[in-house]
């Protein structure tokens, strides 16, 4: 499983998933997933809807509790029963399809609430960092706006800034652009691309094949709760070995 791109990596992967199973009642959504993500690596997970890719991502920060198997992030085993989940979740930052900005708080409060309440940073330090992050996602002038006053693309960029404010080691993107109007997708993808270039470790569930091809170090194709195929984006997207991957990609391209 060692076909990452030329990025230098430390020995211990930042994310290690071993034999992960997830069942919702009779529905066996994940059927034994093994996946490692090295520090600085960008991994895109693609696959048809219902393939389990979002569930896999949500197991990485324990928003879904795995039925079986092991999830280790930044050296902390989240699936261990003595694990302090609230603390362990600070290692990961998550961006959701529906943005999920706190509707009753201004942009600046959305970004500073967790650093202040969870990391106990003082307000001025938290706000300074928040302004820097807002500047980075191109929304410096929106600090005092409320989520309802922003476009979807702007909300999603605030959500990225909010996750980054906790200084996560890994960023999880759960179909971050799927709920956006087509003309707003570009700005969000650009922010994600910059983040990848800066060396952030990223696990990205996406339908944006162009992004996967251009930014990912590795593409993972999932179907029916299994990882069917993974490798360099040129290989998986350009010359897939598995029949299921070929079928999926030809369906996507036909649109």
């Amino acid at each position: 499983m060692n076909q990452h791109s030329g990025t230098p990596m430390s020995a211990e992967p930042l994310v290690r998933i071993e034999q992960l199973h997830k069942r919702f009642g009779d529905n066996h959504v994940l059927r034994g997933i093994d996946l490692e993500v090295a520090k600085g690596e960008v991994v895109c997970i693609i696959g048809p809807s219902g393939s389990g890719k979002s569930t896999l991502l949500r197991c990485v920060n324990m928003l879904e509790e795995p039925t079986e198997g092991k999830v280790v992030v930044g050296g902390v085993e989240l699936t261990h029963r003595d694990c302090d989940i609230d603390r362990a979740r600070c290692i990961t930052g998550m961006v959701f399809q529906q943005f999920n900005l706190f509707a009753h708080m201004s942009v600046i409060d959305n970004i500073t609430i967790a650093p202040r309440k969870v990391l106990k940073r003082d307000r001025s330090a938290a706000e300074q960092k928040a302004k820097m992050l807002l500047d980075r996602v191109g929304l410096a002038e929106k600090a005092d706006a409320y989520p309802a006053q922003l476009s979807g693309g702007q909300q999603q960029r605030v959500a990225i800034a909010r996750a980054l404010a906790m200084d996560p080691q890994v960023m999880l993107f759960d179909e971050a652009t799927s709920a956006l109007d087509p003309e707003l997708v570009g700005d969000v993808l650009n922010v994600m691309r910059e983040l990848a270039e800066e060396g952030m470790t990223m696990l990205v569930v996406t339908h944006e094949m162009g992004f996967a091809r251009g930014v990912a170090d590795r593409v993972v194709f999932m179907d029916g709760g299994y990882i069917v195929e993974q490798g360099h984006p040129e290989q998986v997207l350009g010359a897939p070995r598995e029949e299921r991957t070929q079928r999926f990609l030809s369906n996507v391209r036909e649109r």
Binding site: D86, C90, N100, A103, H104, A114, L119
Partner: protein, 263 residues
């Protein structure tokens, strides 16, 4: 007759309207307005009600309402959180509490708690305000709990997930993210609960009152006994309206505003 369907409908509407107006005119003519006015709104009795109806009766009604509401809201919030807890016994307790106290008429609960408990245990309520306000708050809590629960459930799931993904504990996420948004949603129904509570305080007087703990309804009733005239009750009703109408209008306004805001 060769009337079209539309003409027939118009005729029917005309007849209904004329009959209604005729009935009203007839009532207006038959009723002895002088006598009715004298029995329901006799001016010197009206003026006699003041200032005591405000300084004693209204004051007591407001005290009972506010204590009932603050107590009911605190306990109601706690019950709502228990109702949504993962811990089954908490859920069962809250569900049973709500079911029982909403299922028994307030009058009966007041009598059981206000009289029954002292008789059964020998313990005495420390003062008549507490004797009335505590049962009122306990019942209000059951209603408010359901309102709060609905509010919490109306906050999108993603809000909790986002808060947890940022490392907040369940309790902190509830306190800083979910409950503040839930309260915004339930301000209009909560205002209506408050109005119901104002009116429900009128039942507290069944526990027996002293001159200083008279509420609006009892004050009106006593006035009727003293004057052999219904005017004191009509005045009490008007004072209730002076409290409740602005509040229901406020609730309706807030509801309209929040509907407009969601668009």
């Amino acid at each position: 007759m060769s009337l079209s369907r539309r003409q027939r409908l118009r005729l029917l509407r005309g007849v209904t309207y004329t009959a209604t107006v005729a009935a009203l005119v007839l009532i207006f003519l038959v009723v002895d307005w002088g006598e009715l006015g004298g029995a329901l709104f006799k001016w010197d009795i009206v003026t006699d009600q003041f200032p005591d109806i405000l300084t004693t009766a209204l004051r007591n009604t407001v005290i009972f309402t506010i204590f009932g509401f603050i107590g009911g809201l605190s306990l109601g919030l706690l019950l709502a959180i228990m109702r949504l807890s993962k811990v089954k016994p908490y859920r069962w307790f809250a569900a049973t509490y709500i079911e029982v106290l909403r299922g028994i008429p307030l009058l009966v609960t007041l009598l059981i708690l206000g009289f029954g408990i002292p008789i059964a245990t020998g313990w005495q309520w420390p003062n008549p305000y507490i004797q009335g306000a505590v049962p009122l708050a306990l019942v209000a809590a059951a209603y408010i709990a359901e309102t709060v629960r609905a509010g919490i459930e109306a906050v999108p799931r993603g809000q909790m997930e986002a808060a947890r993904s940022l490392g907040m504990s369940y309790t902190r996420a509830m306190a800083t993210i979910i409950i503040p948004q839930a309260f915004r949603i339930i301000v209009p129904p909560l205002t209506n609960e408050f109005v119901l509570l104002i009116k429900d305080t009128s039942l507290i007087s069944v526990l027996g009152v002293t001159a200083s703990t008279l509420d609006l309804a009892r004050f009106g009733r006593n006035g009727v006994n003293d004057t052999a005239n219904a005017t004191p009750l009509v005045v009490a009703g008007l004072v209730y309206l002076a409290l409740t109408v602005p509040l229901t209008q406020l609730a309706a306004w807030m509801e309209r505003r929040s509907k407009a805001g969601r668009r």
